[in-house]
């Protein structure tokens, strides 16, 4: 077990190193930030001075080396635009993104699993069919388009919910959060629902498929034959058995949710990391782009690693398959 976890960790570090090189080289290729940062009327000497101050006059590999050295010490460079450490900028914005991601995950679970169960138990009824049709719609609708419609309906037409920003925040253990104030909740509602849509549809489908398979199994028939109530059969026997893949997907999807938050945050001007990334790309703020991507990549690698290791703990077949070399 420990060997398996260690090997996965080694692989993960390799991926991280590879991604950092790719990201650094890729981001280096974007435009020339000096053009944007220096006054257009500045002369060449001033441009050179600015380039030197930012370390942009050195060869690419030297820049990457310097970057790695600093990164090892937890310094991912200073933002060209805000002139504060990039990592600090991201950490400032991260709570907003995480709050949005968690809120949308909660929405997806609370709505998605019951709907999926219902659709799985009555797949041919009109309820089951409309839930499935809804989930197909949820998959097909582009996130940003749903966001626009939400704004159109709830902000412009009815004027119930604010179209942008995070609203009033209060400090919870030193982290600003929106969901504890009424104003914050009103701001959170639309972006969270928007972001939840994809996950929600996925959960409905997964739960439905799992339920349909599970209710045909012998243990369910047996539980019924024992005379257990339908509620207990579904709530305990069916749900418990279909929960493993569902929990896995929720865990794995957390990363996608954070990535998709880029879109949602841009629509609702939610001051999180996703909006920061888009702004930084437009302003050629390279250190912030690189730092954001590395934070996200690390996050993904950690999520995948945890899910893999948990899986091998839960399911001995995974462990055995990797221990015995394939023939």
């Amino acid at each position: 077990m420990a060997a398996y976890a260690l090997r996965r960790l080694g692989q993960s570090l390799l991926v991280l190193a590879l991604m950092s090189l790719l990201v650094f080289v890729g981001v280096y290729a974007i435009g020339n930030p000096i053009e944007l940062l220096v006054n257009p009327e500045a002369d060449d000497a001033e441009r050179l001075r600015a380039a030197h101050a930012l370390g942009l006059d050195k060869p690419l590999l030297v820049q990457y080396g310097v970057f790695l050295l600093h990164a090892a010490k937890g310094d991912l460079g200073r933002s060209f635009v805000y002139n504060i450490p990039a990592i600090q900028l991201i950490l400032q914005r991260l709570p907003a993104t995480l709050e949005l991601a968690l809120a949308s995950t909660v929405i997806a679970i609370v709505i998605g699993i019951p709907l999926g169960l219902l659709a799985g138990l009555k797949p041919h009824s009109w309820v089951g069919r409309s839930i499935m049709a809804g989930s197909i719609l949820g998959f097909s609708l582009p996130t940003f388009w749903v966001g626009l419609v939400l704004i159109m309906v709830f902000s412009v037409h009815f004027g119930w919910l604010p179209p942008n920003g995070r609203g009033e925040t209060v400090s919870l253990l030193g982290v600003p959060v929106s969901f504890l104030t009424l104003d914050g909740l009103r701001h959170l509602a639309m972006p969270a629902l928007n972001l939840a849509l994809l996950q929600l549809s996925l959960l409905v489908r997964l739960t439905r498929a799992g339920t349909r398979e599970a209710i045909l199994q012998d243990y369910v028939k047996f539980a019924r034959a024992k005379g257990l109530s339908t509620g207990r059969v579904i709530g305990v026997h069916v749900l418990k058995n279909i929960l493993i893949p569902i929990v896995t997907v929720i865990g794995l999807e957390l990363g996608s949710v954070i990535a998709f938050a880029i879109v949602t945050e841009s629509i609702f001007a939610w001051p999180g990391t996703g909006k920061l990334l888009i702004d930084s790309i437009n302003q050629l703020d390279r250190p912030v782009i690189v730092a954001y991507l590395l934070v996200i990549v690390t996050l993904f690698i950690v999520i995948n690693l945890v899910v893999d290791v948990l899986y091998s703990l839960l399911d001995p077949r995974v462990r055995l398959a990797t221990a015995a070399p394939a023939h």
């Binding site: 097909s140 626009l148 159109m152 990535a259 880029i262 879109v263």
Partner: protein, 308 residues
């Protein structure tokens, strides 16, 4: 499929006849769902108007001489001073939204189909090579695919486009990069199953050259799952392109796809001028929905596991 049709000489003649034309059988099964037929009809219609856009659109939305700033931001159904009707309204530059949507649809569909075809070709080649040759090549290709698929497509496309810049060619490159792995995986798993079947052994016994075995025997039998993936991926590609363009990272303003039209109208949404964003969005939605309806039905009829 050829094998299946000829290997049943013992069946009664009447049933044999029906088995003999797999295309016809597929068409019949496809038509069993009215929703799928509707999707297909819509898709054909959309493709037709997209292809013929330059001839059927009321105006050329990118010919500045045809635009009149006095007509800007008119609501749907208004008429210009010269009496022309704007059925879906106009945008901030007095552009007829209907024409803009027809041209946008053209670009969105082109990007979606072109990137899917290119990704399909690349994924097919790599996946077949991985399955057939195995060994380190298989390990290398699939490892890259694994790593890539563990990140969301939008993130990878975003990074690529941030580095590459804007343009139709560049967005196609980005879309191919994020999509090839799906095909490679699908075709590899299908090919590994097929490779062990008897007809491949028979082909080997016949001493056919390797390329004929791979292209003539293995490839056609791996196609059904691939067709399903490709149909779904066209819709994904169009959505992804629209999303990236909406974020300002996809296509340049001179080649507006539906996503860019929506982004363009977004700033007017809060002042109640919904039509500049809404109708391009509706067009995008109908396109994606009809592709998905077709894909869903294809998946059902091409999936042997659902056959009774």
């Amino acid at each position: 499929m050829r094998i299946a049709t000829t290997a049943r000489p013992a069946l009664p003649a009447a049933r044999l006849e029906r088995v003999e034309s797999p295309w016809r059988r597929l068409a019949e099964e496809f038509a069993a769902s009215r929703l799928a037929l509707l999707g297909l009809a819509l898709l054909v219609l959309l493709a037709a108007v997209a292809i013929t856009a330059p001839w059927i659109a009321p105006q050329n939305p990118y010919d500045l001489a045809q635009l009149d700033v006095l007509d800007s931001q008119l609501p749907p159904g208004s008429h210009s001073l010269s009496g022309k009707a704007y059925w879906l309204g106009t945008d901030d530059q007095g552009r007829d939204m209907l024409s803009a949507i027809l041209f946008g649809l053209r670009i969105s569909l082109t990007v979606g189909v072109a990137s899917t075809v290119a990704a399909l070709a690349l994924g097919l080649a790599l996946g077949l090579a991985a399955a057939y040759f195995g060994g380190w090549l298989d390990a290398l290709i699939m490892r890259i695919a694994d790593i890539q698929l563990s990140f969301p497509a939008i993130l990878i496309a975003l990074i690529l486009l941030a580095a590459l810049g804007q343009g139709v060619g560049k967005i196609i490159v980005a879309l191919v990069t994020v999509q090839w792995a799906y095909y490679a995986r699908t075709v590899r798993s299908a090919a590994i199953v097929e490779r062990q079947k008897e007809y491949i052994e028979a082909a080997k016994v016949l001493a056919l050259p390797e390329w004929r075995i791979v292209l003539g025997h293995l490839l056609p039998n791996c196609l059904p799952p691939l067709i399903v993936v490709a149909t779904v991926q066209v819709a994904h590609a169009i959505t992804l392109e629209a999303t990236l363009s909406f974020l300002g990272l996809g296509l340049p303003i001179t080649e507006p796809s539906l996503g860019l039209l929506i982004a363009n109208g977004f700033q007017y949404l809060l002042s109640g001028k919904y039509w500049i964003s809404f109708y391009p969005g509706l067009a995008l939605l109908v396109t994606i929905m009809s592709i998905n309806l077709v894909a869903d039905q294809l998946r059902d009829i091409l999936n042997p596991r659902l056959k009774r």
